[in-house]
């Protein structure tokens, strides 16, 4: 399937990197950034850029692949259910974002809130979870980029990974979250071109709606919009997982403090609602594959590039690669920014050097970016399996959801209640996962729901027995700007 020469691919990657870097450099050329600009973009992002950055961050490499896989595996109803679940993940934030912004107006990370609300143990749990999540996002995005570039050209998988890592590391080092938000819009333009140019082209080449209608009788239950299997295998699990999905993801929380207070809730609603049509459109690649007989040997995880290579001529294939690269970069730079912000705010400034200058913190932030990018790139080149980490983080999301959200409102939760309920919920969730692994196809969902149920019950019971009430008004003074 090598349809692009090495020179063309090198030009594409180089051009993409140079444009992103020049954009960030040009925008920041007049004044030097402080650590506050680097971590929360000066807290002055408006509705347009705020919505665009949430959309682009949430459309990561897997968002281009997984909806299509759901269409290929579960049929015509698959992309709808998958997209609905993903949209809920961002929309679910909207009621909480303004509230946490009011509680800690000078915050940077969700771990920082937990640290101020509780103690160093609870803080440590959130730090570990946020760092591991950021690493995982980087790892997956780099892996997808490696597979894509090496599939379409003769550039090796390993070299592809390092080229892509260098691209988004280079401009992220300049101005952190500010660079991420600025480039996110340009990357959203590129991603939108898939939905507005490439996908319609594939629809028309595949014969459009009449071809799908005529093929529906041949694909059985997969041709049914109201398929019960699609609902049970995708709809319900993704919808429920959606409730927990983004809660531990620092990239989504970080933007709470970057976007202007009056626009923040609307941005999360637009970001989530906007994600739905993007995902639905990408999902049609899987439906097209199903009705035109394009088959995948690995269960559909590669169906998007297969369909692209089947229908697209060379020029549009390059456009397609550019768009996947945009999706990879938009989430990759956000993960780099999230990781460095947690390192500076929650580890360096909090525990190592409380009086560090802005310049010193910028050095630490940039060094941590380089460290995690290199680590994730190396992990991706070795193709190591991170299934255990994925499982662990999935169950942790379920265990953290209630204690974290209740911490925003319920003044009777204390540090022991928070930490114990997360740990007990995590243990119960992992136990349930492994118990049902060979018994039920819904073992993953059972693990997450058990973690959620047990942590909720233990947190509620402990907090009801606690008579001491926390004073939420004290939080604003405990969380300061990094330059203070």
């Amino acid at each position: 399937m090598t349809i692009i020469t090495v020179t063309q691919m090198a030009g594409l990657l180089g051009g993409f990197g140079i444009v992103m870097f020049l954009l960030v450099w040009w925008h920041g050329r007049r004044k030097g950034d402080t650590i506050e600009d680097f971590t929360v973009a000066g807290r002055n992002v408006g509705l347009g850029f705020g919505s665009a950055t949430l959309l682009a961050t949430w459309i990561w490499a897997l968002s281009l692949y997984a909806p299509a896989q759901s269409g290929y595996q579960s049929g015509i109803a698959g992309p709808f259910w998958y997209s609905l679940g993903g949209a809920v993940m961002v929309i679910i934030f909207s009621p909480f974002v303004k509230h946490i912004r009011d509680l800690v107006p000078r915050g940077h990370t969700i771990a920082e809130f937990v640290g101020a609300r509780y103690n160093s143990t609870a803080h440590g749990i959130m730090i570990a979870f946020n760092l591991a999540s950021s690493f995982l996002v980087l790892f997956f995005n780099l892996s997808v980029a490696g597979y894509l570039i090496s599939t379409f050209s003769q550039i090796s998988y390993e070299i592809s990974i390092f080229i892509v890592a260098i691209i988004f590391l280079s401009y992220s080092l300049v101005s952190g979250l500010k660079a991420s938000i600025l480039t996110d819009y340009l990357q959203l333009v590129m991603i939108s071109l898939i939905a507005l140019v490439v996908t319609p082209y594939v629809f028309i080449k595949a014969g459009g709606a009449p071809a799908i209608v005529s093929a529906l009788p041949d694909i059985g239950d997969k041709g049914n919009f109201l398929s019960q299997d699609a609902f049970l295998e995708l709809g319900l699990p993704y919808f429920l997982a959606g409730i927990f999905g983004g809660l531990g993801y620092q990239s989504l929380w970080q933007r709470v403090w970057a976007i202007r207070r009056q626009a923040v809730s609307r941005c999360y609603i637009i970001g989530g609602a906007g994600w739905f049509p993007y995902s639905l459109t990408f999902g049609m690649f899987g439906v097209i594959a199903l009705v035109t007989g394009i088959s995948s040997e690995v269960g559909g995880s590669d169906i998007t590039p297969l369909v692209a290579a089947h229908f697209l001529p060379g020029g549009l294939a390059m456009l397609f690669i550019l768009m996947v690269l945009a999706a990879v970069a938009s989430s990759g730079d956000s993960a780099l920014s999230a990781f460095s912000t947690v390192v500076v705010t929650d580890i360096f400034k909090k525990y190592i050097n409380k009086g560090a200058t802005s310049e010193k913190q910028l050095i630490v932030a940039r060094t941590s970016m380089i460290f995690i990018a290199v680590l994730a790139a190396f992990a991706a080149t070795f193709k190591i399996s991170l299934l255990q980490l994925v499982l662990f983080l999935g169950v942790t999301k379920g265990a953290i959801a209630f204690p974290l959200l209740a911490s925003l409102y319920w003044n009777r939760i204390n540090a022991i209640g928070f930490s114990l309920s997360v740990i007990i919920g995590l243990g119960a969730g992992l136990g349930a996962y492994f118990y049902f692994l060979n018994i039920s196809p819904y073992f993953n969902l059972i693990g997450i729901l058990t973690a959620f149920g047990v942590s909720t019950a233990s947190c509620a019971l402990h907090s009801l027995s606690n008579r001491k009430k926390f004073d939420f008004t004290s939080l604003a003074d405990r969380v300061r700007e990094l330059t203070e």
């Binding site: 408006g46 509705l47 347009g48 850029f49 919505s51 665009a52 959309l55 015509i76 709808f80 819009y185 959203l188 333009v189 939108s192 939905a195 507005l196 996908t199 319609p200 629809f203 459009g208 709606a209 009449p210 799908i212 209608v213 529906l216 919009f225 637009i270 609602a273 906007g274 739905f276 049509p277 993007y278 639905l280 459109t281 999902g283 049609m284």
Partner: protein, 37 residues
Amino acid sequence: MLALVTFYLWVGPVLVALIFGYVTYHIYKGYREKPKH
């Protein structure tokens, strides 16, 4: 059935165009309202 499938196939790109236009409009509006130094 044809109408339903046609709608399902094309509703995504149409909504993407609307969302993208909305976001772009607000970025443009933000730049216009930004005080000039």
